[in-house]
């Protein structure tokens, strides 16, 4: 009996102390409680719309986008590849992790734009369901007037676009966003008397990740028939883009199809006049590249 008792004593001693370490470790917090959710999307733009992603502090992104001609051009235009309906070059810079500013230039109307994006609320693992990001952009048309007094004042060439981006990463493979926005145009940029100069739009988009580096991306903008009249001359259509996004670790490539001819919101929201149904679809691509402009790592210096 004594032997049994001693045995139990040793057993309870070693067994319990082993459990002790495990349970103490369990009860200690090592920081996975309520972390921010990052990388909802991979790029500042999905196909057509802005995502909630801002540039990280002291990082610069160079974004190039290209839209070809209508696929309905067939073999005569090599399915549109002979044409470039729009080309956009842009730079965005992260002033802080939450605030980015950018400049860009589009071929369409020789438009220059400045933009700002600010992350108001970041999605958290437990307490915050969505990220809320604000986006604002001003566009300035610099092409020659196509007739005298097309733009009597310089301000007639400038339009603005404001958007709230609500985004949620549901899982590592699925992210969705809802982008209500408001376009402000000078009345001289309106082509149809029935059209509104300024109107609300509702964008929506999503990403489905197949593998670590390959995603399907889709976005749609309800631009016509919401606040703006649905029947216009020339007829306007709601922009829809579908693409594949490839991340290589430094570059993000997107290969896509869309009915919108132009790249920035101020251009494609009012001017999408071709539809998916009648072959008004075009191929497009974009490439973005990140550069870190902050101080270099000091060897032997610990911490940051």
């Amino acid at each position: 009996m004594k032997i049994l008792l001693t045995f139990c004593l040793i057993l309870s001693f070693s067994g319990l102390s082993g459990q002790d370490i495990d349970s103490i470790m369990q009860s200690m917090d090592s920081g996975t409680g309520n972390e921010p959710v990052f990388a909802t999307f991979k790029s500042p733009k999905l196909v057509l719309l802005q995502t909630n992603e801002t540039q990280k502090k002291q990082e610069l992104i160079f974004w190039v986008g290209h839209r070809f001609g209508d696929i309905s051009g067939g073999s005569r235009t090599l399915f549109g590849l002979d044409y470039a309906t729009d080309i956009h070059l842009g730079f965005d810079y992260g002033i802080s992790d939450d605030l980015s500013v950018g400049i860009g230039r589009s071929r369409f109307n020789e438009t220059y734009n400045i933009q700002g994006k600010y992350r108001l609320i970041q999605q958290l693992e437990k307490e915050m369901l969505v990220s809320v990001t604000l986006f604002g952009q001003s566009s300035w048309i610099t092409r020659k007037e196509s007739f005298d007094n097309e733009f009597p004042k310089e301000s007639d060439k400038i339009s603005h676009f404001l958007q709230v981006i609500l985004a949620r990463k549901f899982s590592p493979s699925l992210s969705l966003m809802l982008n209500p926005g408001y376009l402000i145009r000078p009345s001289l940029q309106v082509e149809d008397v029935n059209d509104k100069a300024s109107f609300f739009v509702l964008g929506m988009g999503g990403r489905f990740k197949f593998t670590k580096r390959l995603s399907l991306i889709v976005d749609y903008t309800l631009a016509n028939g919401l606040d703006r009249p649905g029947e216009l001359s020339p007829q306007s259509y709601n922009p829809l883009g579908i693409g594949l996004e490839i991340e290589t670790g430094g570059h993000v490539f997107s290969l896509n199809f869309q009915n919108a001819r132009y790249i920035t919101e101020n251009n494609f929201i009012p001017h999408t006049q071709s539809s998916w149904e009648d072959g008004g679809v075009r191929f497009g691509f974009s490439i973005s590249r990140n550069f870190y402009l902050g101080p270099k790592d000091n060897q032997g210096k610990k911490g940051y």
């Binding site: 103490i24 200690m28 990280k56």
Partner: protein
């Protein structure tokens, strides 16, 4: 002793923690874990100060854990890639080590003792048996543990795309510095 008393004693021993057991336990919060990847194009270096550890001076057991997401990089984009593409921290949120200090140390005496830790290291969901050199430094019942060891990405199924081999090393050097206080 009557049989009844023996049975009661038996259960008491099983259930009630032995007074000596909670003694001899030391814990560390805010342990520093740093790693360096040295490759031809760049040196990447990240640090976490959120490691936790418990060691028992009685049984020589030691347990260590760190959240992958707590590692801070200088380049935020790199931190994103580290979590999303390499460590898959959404699937494997922690790295850990659980094992024993091989040498018997008198934790009541001051001094510096080179030791070997043997046990299981888990990174990226893959467990490996490891033997790790470390140094235990005891000053007035304050224990400090430091260790430097290598982790091969391949051992833990951490895939580095060929296109990045000049940016990311295949073997990463890890440095640990933990201060323990008596519980």
């Amino acid at each position: 002793m009557s049989r009844k008393i023996k049975i009661v004693l038996f259960f008491i021993l099983l259930v009630v923690p032995f007074p000596g057991m909670t003694q001899g336990l030391y814990k560390s919060t805010g342990a520093e874990i740093e790693f360096l990847s040295s490759a031809p194009i760049e040196d990447i270096h990240a640090v976490s100060r959120k490691g936790i550890s418990v060691l028992s001076a009685v049984t020589n057991e030691i347990s260590f854990r760190v959240s992958i997401r707590s590692f801070q990089f200088r380049k935020a984009k790199m931190q994103e890639h580290f979590n999303e593409n390499f460590m898959e921290s959404h699937k494997y949120p922690f790295a850990s080590f659980k094992g024993n200090i091989e040498e018997d140390i008198d934790f009541s005496k001051n001094g510096e003792f080179p030791v070997t830790l043997t046990g299981i290291m888990e990174i990226h969901g893959i467990e490996k048996n490891r033997e790790i050199p470390a140094t235990v430094n005891i000053q007035n019942k304050q224990i400090n543990l430091t260790s430097i060891f290598d982790v091969a990405c391949e051992d833990h199924d951490i895939e580095i795309p060929k296109i990045l081999w000049r940016n990311i090393a295949e073997v990463v050097r890890v440095e640990i510095n933990a201060n323990y206080t008596k519980m």
